[in-house]
Structures are given as structure tokens and as C-alpha cells.
Amino acid sequence: MKLRFENVAFTYPSGVRALDGIDLSIGAGELVAIVGENGAGKTTLVKMLNGLLHPTSGIVWVGAWNTADHSTAELAARVGFLFQNPDEQLFERSAEREVAFGPRNLGFSERKTRERTRKALKRVGLLAKAQVNPYDMMPFERKLLALASTLAMDPPVLVLDEPSVGQDAAGRARIGRILRNLHRMGKTILLISHDLDFCAEHAKRAVVMAKGCILADGPAHTVFGQADLLRQAAVFPPQIVRLAQALKMPASPLTVGQFVSAYSKERRKGKRAN
């Protein structure tokens, strides 16, 4: 499902201008990273996709829907959210009930709801904790539980706000696998993150935001290589990109694997030249 922001501006009631004329189109099935400093407007921008906020001016399209004409409940069937702070979206007394809430609300039968719930809990590795109260879980588990709730609704668009925060390497790898899987299924995914190593591993396209504007938008390997531009958004290039640049490699690898093969290719070339 396509997304489009048409000259979108937003000013908070306090007078803080959070977004300033954003134009952005996301194609169906794209996995786009949105990066930038705290307060750049990333979360404000995506909250418009399910009507939690409405633009002060401009139009936000979710598929063929203008978000101004649809309720948050309607939009929730199209756009699933993983909030930065999972506590904003958890309220049931067991993990299972928490995850079942979405599909049940969408009108699925009890059997189908149960099936989806179990599957989503399994995907995030929490099936064994189905009966545990979310508030007895550790913060990283609550994040995974919130992700399961989103997955259970199976929306065509997913917005993941800092999914890898607070996760250890194993949790990060798990979330990475889920992302790749969703991408393969053709979901449209917006990944908001300060973890550029993680973004570089998964996103093909990157949008850089600062002070309510878009500073850059393009292929990840181009955008993540521009240290000066990223600096304006309080972000550093991914570790592996910095290493490739420090070694003045002509290739622009985004992952450790890409770096090592580019490096080995160069060494072979170097040896032949000698």
C-alpha cells in the first residue's frame, strides 16, 4: 500500500512547529528508514498515518484514503504501529489477551483470533509467556509483545519506532528476521531508528530529517555515506560505512558481509597490480 505526504505541516498547540512542508512518497512494499535527531519530527510525521495527529496543512494519503476522512479505528486496519515506548500501547492483563485485542477488534472469529495470536507470539519468541501479565515482563519483552500485537493485526503498512532499542544482539537479530520476513511479504514498512547500523542492514532507502524538514532522501548506500549531511541531523554514518571511508574504499558497503567481500576483492586487485 502506497503512502503520500503532500506539503504537510504541523504545529503543536504550544506553538512548536514540528513539521514544515513535508513532501514524501513511499511506494507499496518499500522498506524505508527514517533517521534524524531527537525532535526532528519523525514521530510526529508517522503519527499522521493513523490519524493520531492531523496535519495543520497539507494532505496525508494512506493508499487511496485521505486520513482526514477516516477515523483512527479505520486507519488502524491499514497502518500498524510499534511505538517507541511500548507502555503506551499495552493495557491487557496477559500477553495473550494483549495480542488478541487487535484481531478481535477487527472482527475476526475467536478461532481465527486465537490462531493469529499464537502465531504472533511465536514469531517474537514469547509463546511461553502467553499468560504472563505484560507489567511483570522486562522492558525488552514488552517491546516484543507490542510488536506481536502489531503483527497479529496483519496490516499492509507497518510503522516501527525504534524497534531495536534495549534489545541485546539476539533480540536485534530476531527483530531483523521479522523485518526481512515482512518485507518479503510485500508490506510497506517505515523504520524509525537512531541505530544506523541496524537501518543499514535492512533498509534500501533512507530519509534524513532535521528540524521538521527532509534533508535527504535516496538509496541507503548513498545517504548513509554522507557524513556531513548526517551530522546536520545529529547522526553518524553506520560503523561499517565509517570504516570503508577511513580505508578510502571505492565501494559503499552497508553490512559487515558486504564490507568483507569488497575488501577481499580489492586486495586481490591490489596483488595483481603488484
Binding site: N38, T43, G166, H194, L196, V235
Partner: protein, 278 residues
């Protein structure tokens, strides 16, 4: 100095101990990182070092935990608060809820310590500058973004100038420049070798850059402990669910592919990686 001798702790109604037989000596002025998989006991260690275990969280404690000669179990939280500062994982838990501006929030702890008005004002403005909060000093702590709240939480603790600073993932919501600033500020604080920093952090890249030492927890036990340079390069971190920096991973992978004959310790920082691959 911080000293844990055979320290164990179990939360109420839990069968497994959260910390088991911890032996640690952290000298004054050290910048000590703590890493471990989720659920390894890192936050519990922070609670123990700051006295929340056993004074707030009940449960079973055994062994000894001393900081600067004081036995934590025998010292009240009121006294500890003046000497040990804890920055919580969730900044929301830190904010008092009793103050209406960032400036007042940062002053709150100092007022409770009974400092003179003048002194409070000086320290508050110093810390607001250091944590780049001056521009939002008059905003309500509740109207801030997660990252801004995290800065306020750190500032409130820094203002109290504790001898021991314990931080539980203090940069989780900060942008990369904000993270760099926090680490630089902590580095500055430990430079005089008077203040001790113990920090739980998943961002290994920053520990690699700044920590003197890294302690690795697994299932409540210390399973590795040594200079950051050595611990963070260790191959065993992967099995413990912790991982390594991309610099170490790239070097390990290149070695495995026999692009190098040289063995020895892997790079953990950009500078070391550049030298390694050159």
C-alpha cells in the same frame, strides 16, 4: 571503592536468583561498562549498587556490598542518595512529578539534599549547559520527547555530584550525537579519578571508545571481566547474546576468510580497525 563479595540476590516470589555470587572490586574513578543479554541481571546490579536492593526491592540478599567503606544494606537510602546516583532505564520513572519545569526538576534532588539556594542555582545552570537543556529549561518535564526526558534524568543526577554514578542504559532514546555527548560528559567526570561510573549499555561502540573496563553478566553471574580492549573483542560474547562492534565482526570475518595471517587481539574501535585493515 565498590566491593561486592559473594553477593547474591533473589527477588520476592522468584525461584532463581537475579544475581548469584558476584565478586567485583571497582576502584575509585574507574569507567566501568556492564554488558549482558536481556535478563542477565544488569538492571538488578544497578539497583543493588544504589541501594534500591534491598531497601526498596525486598527479597533475599546474601554476601557483602560495600561502597566507600559503607555497607549498603546497613545504610539508609537517604544517606546513599547523597553519594550514589542512579539513572534509571526509563527516564519516566526518574521524573519526580512534583516539579513543573526542567529547571525545577533538576534542582529537586539538590533541594532534598538541603543545599543553599545560591549553590543550587549555580549547579543547576552548569548541568543544564552540560546536557544542552538550557533552551528547554522552562518547559514541563512531561511535555518533552523521550530523548529530552532522558537528558533531564541524567542532568538531575549529575547535579547532585555523586561519588558513584550508576547508569542503566542512559542513552537508549538519544540520537547518536546525544549519545556521544553523554559519554563525553561521563569521560570528563571520571577524568579526575574521583567519581566512579558504572554504566549498563548495549551500544558497545561507545563502551569500546570510553570504558576502562567491561564486566559481562550472564544469568546473574560475572562470566567475563577485564580491560574493555580485551573483553569486547572476545569471541565468546556472541554466544552470550551480546555481540560485538561491527569493527570486531569485520576483522573476525576477514580472518576467517584467511584474508590475514596475523592473529592476536581484534580491533574494537574505528581507529583500531583502520590500522588492522590497512
Amino acid at each position: 571503592m565498590i566491593e561486592l563479595r559473594n553477593f547474591s540476590y533473589r527477588y520476592p516470589n522468584q525461584t532463581r536468583p537475579a544475581l548469584a555470587g558476584i565478586q567485583l572490586k571497582i576502584p575509585k574513578g574507574q569507567f566501568c561498562g556492564v554488558v549482558g543479554a536481556n535478563g542477565a541481571g544488569k538492571s538488578t546490579l544497578c539497583y543493588a549498587l544504589s541501594g534500591f536492593v534491598p531497601h526498596f526491592y525486598r527479597g533475599d540478599v546474601s554476601g557483602i556490598l560495600r561502597i566507600g567503606g559503607r555497607e549498603i544494606a546497613q545504610t539508609t537510602l537517604g544517606i546513599l542518595a547523597g553519594e550514589i546516583g542512579l539513572v534509571f532505564q526509563d527516564p519516566f520513572n526518574q521524573i519526580s512529578g512534583a516539579r513543573f519545569s526542567v529547571r525545577e526538576e533538576v534542582a529537586f534532588g539538590l533541594e532534598n539534599l538541603g543545599l543553599a539556594r545560591r549553590k543550587i542555582e549555580t549547579r543547576v545552570s552548569e548541568v543544564l549547559g552540560l546536557m544542552r537543556l538550557a533552551a528547554i529549561a522552562d518547559r514541563s518535564p512531561f511535555e518533552l520527547s523521550g530523548g529530552q526526558q532522558q537528558r533531564v534524568a541524567i542532568a538531575s543526577i549529575l547535579a547532585m555530584q555523586p561519588k558513584v554514578l550508576v547508569l542503566d542504559e542512559p542513552t537508549s532514546q538519544l540520537d547518536p550525537h546525544g549519545t556521544a555527548e553523554v559519554f563525553e560528559a561521563l569521560d570528563e567526570i571520571t577524568r579526575d579519578r574521583e567519581t566512579t561510573v558504572v554504566i549498563v549499555e548495549h551500544k558497545l561502540e561507545w563502551l569500546a571508545e570510553f570504558a576502562d573496563r567491561v564486566v559481562v553478566l550472564d544469568a546473574g553471574r560475572v562470566v567475563m571481566d577485564g580491560p574493555a580492549r580485551k573483553v569486547l573483542a572476545d569471541d565468546g560474547l556472541k554466544k552470550l547474546g551480546i555481540g560485538r562492534t561491527q569493527y570486531s565482526e569485520a576483522a573476525a570475518s576477514a580472518q576467517k576468510k584467511r584474508l590475514f595471517r596475523r592473529s592476536g587481539i581484534l580491533p574494537i574501535t574505528l581507529k583500531q580497525a583502520r590500522a588492522f585493515f590497512k
